[in-house]
Point group: C2
Chain length 219, copies 2
């Protein structure tokens, strides 16, 4: 039996907690696109000084969630559905394909089990109408693929797009037909299980397309 060890302490700085809370507020729709971010207001509400707030703003600006105009104001960004579909989603597809191709040998039963558990929870979430949980599960499914690689550039690229994708889906959830969700991801997972790169590529491409088609107002 493995010897007992303590878990690593979190050791998160205030800045990271602020970034996290501010990000969640945006993703959960408590701060809507166009809403002005006043540093002092948020600092008081959180009970911290403006320093960590400002650093968080710089980070979220890069994540595409905030727009900052020097000396003027910073506001919550608005996303263009078309840009998300035609720029960010294909980038996600691309890095996913890169990782799967390169780390094919890491596609083991442990991985498949984890993915299957996510899909099963999707099924439950669809049944319960737990829509926001579905968005999280979708992100989780795709992120866990990328985490196999744990390559810096992969994760950095992912982080620079993931929250825009998440916000887009949260915002447009009413326009999506969620019933497909479980089936689409199951097909993707089944393709992974074959370990056949041709089949996997086809499945990823199809997954991308299916997302596209679900968007009612797609151009």
């Amino acid at each position: 039996m493995a010897e007992f060890t303590f878990k690593q302490q979190a050791n998160t700085s205030l800045r990271e907690k602020v970034t996290h809370d501010l990000r969640e507020a945006i993703l959960n729709g408590h701060l809507l696109p166009g809403a002005r971010i006043k540093e002092m207001e948020i600092a008081e509400q959180m009970g911290v000084s403006r320093g960590p707030i400002r650093e968080a703003i710089r980070q979220l600006e890069r994540e595409g969630l905030l727009l900052s105009y020097p000396y003027k104001e910073t506001v919550v960004a608005d996303l263009d559905a078309d840009e998300v579909q035609n720029i960010l989603m294909p980038i996600r597809f691309h890095i996913e394909w890169f990782v799967v191709k390169r780390y094919l040998d890491k596609l083991d039963d442990g991985f498949f089990g984890k993915q299957q558990a996510i899909i099963d929870e999707m099924k439950a979430a669809v049944a319960n109408g737990a829509k926001s949980r579905l968005v999280d599960l979708d992100i989780l499914f795709h992120q866990s693929i990328l985490e196999m690689a744990s390559e810096r550039t992969v994760m950095l690229t992912w982080q620079s797009i993931v929250n825009q994708i998440r916000l887009h889906f949260s915002k447009n959830l009413p326009f999506y037909n969620l019933d497909h969700m479980e089936k689409d991801h199951q097909e993707l997972l089944d393709a992974f299980k074959t370990k056949d790169l041709v089949l996997i590529q086809q499945a990823i491409l199809k997954h991308l397309d299916s997302d596209d088609n679900l968007l009612c107002f797609a151009k």
Copy 2:
């Protein structure tokens, strides 16, 4: 004739100047990968306080040039040539293709003239052996394509990869055969001039490949 107007004042904050100078120091190789960034040291050298330095660090972290470990240190990132070639360059290709496809009507003589001027300067730079200028010109050529769109997501994505690409090329310049440079870009521009999307796509794909093949140690 157009009426005379004054140019917009720069109105750059200290934070932005610090970010710029720090970025240039990294791109010009004055701060090598692994080098530790000490906030106080840089603040003293620049004659500013640590606030703007810290905000610049947050930004450059997101640009992939710095790595920050909370409560410990931040160091200059090292880039994996393979990741740049297989992740970042295809992303560049992708957003370029997206922009050209969508803004085909903006491909006018003014645009072609600007691009031709860049290529002409490439020719001169190759002749003079002005290598670092060549890297700038390559970036400039591709950036001016994206600037046609002035779409937020396009520019944000570009900014999150451009400096990694620039650093990669600066670093690996000795391994590239620069003679191709002018010819490759001329082919791309000629394809744009046809306004034929099939030809343009072929040219972009070929351009991506040619970059790939120039890399002597490519896997």
